[in-house]
């Protein structure tokens, strides 16, 4: 009996000491395996450029010696913006590839679908560019968002609209799907609680629709000062064209799903673009020296891929991952990495419009953004409506 207890104690001691020293999955002396996934094919493949940007940051890190003596090994998986494929990809990365951490997801529906499994696994998960606020609300210990959530975007858009002198009459047009609502609803709450206003018109415009006449006429009838548009790129361009056709000439603001340059090309009329503002999540526009480093990295590691803001958007998260790995030190564990992310305060990624701010109770790291608009034929980043008029 005594021998049995001794043997049990010895096993326990071995387990405890061994457990403390055993590396987490995905780690070797020389490498950290990171699972990157997103919509590389399918209808939302344009958003998948974020994953190419993330991989490029890690490739660049490797070329400059890696982090704490280790190089990043990226395993890339395609979700095609399909929840079933997203779940399969995350399970493969965790169970088969045994990655140290996950970094991916540009479609909120996919991220919401795979989130329960990832939370249960305890694997650190840094979301790429999926922006639905429900991803990190409520907070899970191992899930972090590094772009402005749709709630942050909605509130910021309202705050921007209200910098228009004498702005009182705000109209809203949005998709009625989960993505549209996740920007629309917080915007309406912000409008009510901060400015005691309700929208003068609140209309829906479904994805894939090709005519916005009823919406535009309803909004025009309401005589708004400003229109907030929670629409995807094609629908926003159609709305702008129809608004111009029916003489609705008031400023409008699009979401971070919109590329203002692409919109200008799609609308095909510079006069319309004078009244267009877009929530902008990057620190500067493409072509500005301030973000040239990330533009160069993207184009170097993704030759032939047309660069747009989506390609740069995920790179801020990659910078945050690298910083947390740096702070976690050479004796890296998942617990140390998560603790480092939890304590990342006011971290300027250099590429995002606002610094990242995490705490154990707050995992939606980016709490603001800029606005981009055309002044003449030049794009400028502004923070107040009146700045564009100067």
């Amino acid at each position: 009996m005594r021998m049995r207890w001794l043997a049990l104690g010895a096993i326990l001691a071995i387990c405890l000491s061994g457990g403390a020293q055993a590396a987490d999955p995905g780690l070797t002396k020389n490498s950290i395996k990171i699972g990157v996934f997103g919509p590389l094919t399918g209808p939302a493949a344009a958003f998948g450029k974020a994953q190419l940007g993330i991989r490029a940051v890690y490739d660049d890190l490797n070329e400059h010696g890696g982090i704490n003596g280790r190089k990043i090994e990226v395993v890339l998986e395609d979700t095609a913006c399909d929840p079933a494929k997203g779940i399969a990809a995350s399970k493969k990365l965790i169970a088969q590839d045994q990655v140290f951490l996950l970094h991916g997801g540009s479609c909120s529906n996919v991220v919401m679908a795979l989130k329960p499994d990832v939370i249960a696994s305890g694997v650190p998960y840094v979301v790429a560019t999926a922006a639905n606020a429900s991803i990190t609300d409520p907070v899970a210990p191992n899930v972090f968002q590094t772009v402005a959530t749709t709630a942050t975007m909605g509130r910021t858009m309202v705050d921007f609209a209200m910098t228009k002198p004498d702005a009182k009459r705000i109209a809203v047009i949005s998709h009625s799907d989960e993505w549209g609502k996740s920007g629309h609803d917080p915007a309406l709450v912000e409008l009510k609680t901060k400015f005691d206003l309700t929208p003068v018109a609140d209309v829906t415009f479904e994805r894939g629709s090709i005519n916005a006449t009823p919406q535009v006429l309803q909004i025009k009838n309401a005589n708004p000062d400003f229109v907030l548009a929670f629409l995807y790129p094609a629908e926003y361009a159609i709305f702008l064209r129809e608004a111009s056709k029916y003489g609705l000439n008031v400023p409008s603001m699009g979401s971070q799903a919109i590329s203002i340059q692409d919109t200008a090309q799609q609308v095909g009329n510079p006069a319309i673009m004078k009244n267009v503002y877009v929530f902008y999540p990057l620190a500067a526009q493409i072509g500005d020296a301030k973000i040239a480093r990330w533009v160069d990295i993207f184009t170097k590691y993704n030759p032939g891929v047309r660069l747009e803001s989506n390609g740069l958007l995920g790179m801020g998260g990659a910078e945050a991952v690298i910083e947390a790995l740096r702070q976690a030190g050479p004796d890296l564990t998942r617990a140390k990495f998560l603790a480092a992310l939890d304590n990342l305060h006011n971290f300027d990624t250099g590429i995002l419009a606002a610094p990242l701010e995490f705490s154990p109770t707050h995992h939606a790291g980016m709490n603001g953004g800029a606005t981009i608009t055309y002044v003449g034929d030049k794009l400028v980043l502004i923070h107040k409506f009146t700045d564009a008029q100067k």
Binding site: P43, A45, S209, T213
Partner: protein, 289 residues
């Protein structure tokens, strides 16, 4: 406001009518419901985009080339995909067109990704003002093209010898073959014509709707609703159904709720199938046995 909504609805409905017309012609001649018609429409727009941007071809020439390319594509589809299974059940034929629709979308995505692209407007003259009603140049052209095409096909299929042969090939392929009609060749030609019709719709619509691989899906659903409303296989019915659908969407969207626009077509399909399965202009077929 009502007049503006009706005019806008007619413009919008013309797009549905054009798409429904192409599907109706094919259905009438081959009895195949082509679920890939929306993708043929999308594909033609990308053909023009390619010709304009990669080869700097003039717009008109690119549009004509797109019609030709789609005619050839439609003919090839009939010969390679449909003819080998022509005796299969209708469901198998329909599923083949579903597979074709995904194939075409995939091909476009491989070539251009999922980005939204734009075509320059075909006509740059100013909108026409009828009092307070705005009528865009593109709408005028779409409405005109729809009326011309429906008139042309009406004459071709109802008043010409070709139409009688088409009817014979549809009603009794074996009998038509016995009198010397090349039925498979006729079907191949009509697949080409239907695809060319999709190309015409794409040419007229793409500058307004923007280009992306999924652009055909919503229009296809509306075109089905238009065919259901007007009566399956009825040319005039398809056009009238399309125009009615367009106006109905605009009025429901403005006077009831913008959320109604997206579900109007499904409501139409349900109501018509329950109350008048043959559609507004369709005839109930009675077979004496």
């Amino acid at each position: 406001m009502l007049a503006q909504l009706v005019v806008s609805g007619i413009g919008q409905g013309s797009i549905y009518a054009l798409v429904a017309l192409g599907m109706t012609i094919l259905f009438r001649v081959t009895t195949v419901v082509n679920f890939a018609h929306g993708e043929l429409f999308m594909f033609s727009a990308f053909v023009i985009y390619l010709l304009l941007n990669a080869f700097d071809v003039p717009y008109l020439l690119a549009a004509l080339a797109a019609i030709l390319v789609l005619f050839v594509l439609g003919s090839v589809v009939e010969r390679v995909l449909m003819r080998p299974i022509r005796h299969a059940p209708h469901m198998a034929l329909a599923m083949m067109t579903v597979a074709l629709s995904y194939l075409l979308r995939g091909v476009v995505r491989m070539g251009w990704g999922g980005d939204v692209r734009s075509l320059p407007p075909m006509f740059t003259f100013d909108p026409v003002m009828l009092g307070t009603v705005v009528l865009a140049a593109q709408d005028i052209v779409t409405i005109g093209a729809t009326l011309l095409l429906v008139a042309g096909f009406f004459v071709l299929l109802q008043r010409s010898r070709f139409g009688k042969l088409a009817q014979a090939a549809t009603d009794s392929p074996r009998g038509a073959a016995l009198i010397g009609l090349n039925v498979p060749g006729f079907h191949r030609t009509m697949w080409g014509v239907a695809a060319a019709m999709a190309a015409i719709a794409g040419i007229l619509v793409a500058p307004v709707t923007l280009l992306y691989p999924d652009m055909g899906a919503q229009v296809l659903v509306r075109a089905f609703a238009a065919m259901t409303l007007g009566g399956f296989g009825n040319l005039g019915g398809a056009v009238a159904g399309g125009l009615l659908m367009g106006v109905l969407e605009q009025l429901a969207g403005f006077y009831v709720s913008t959320a109604m626009i997206d579900i109007a077509s499904y409501i139409v399909i349900i109501v018509v199938l329950l109350s008048r399965p043959a559609g507004l202009f369709g005839r109930v077929e009675r077979v004496r046995v």
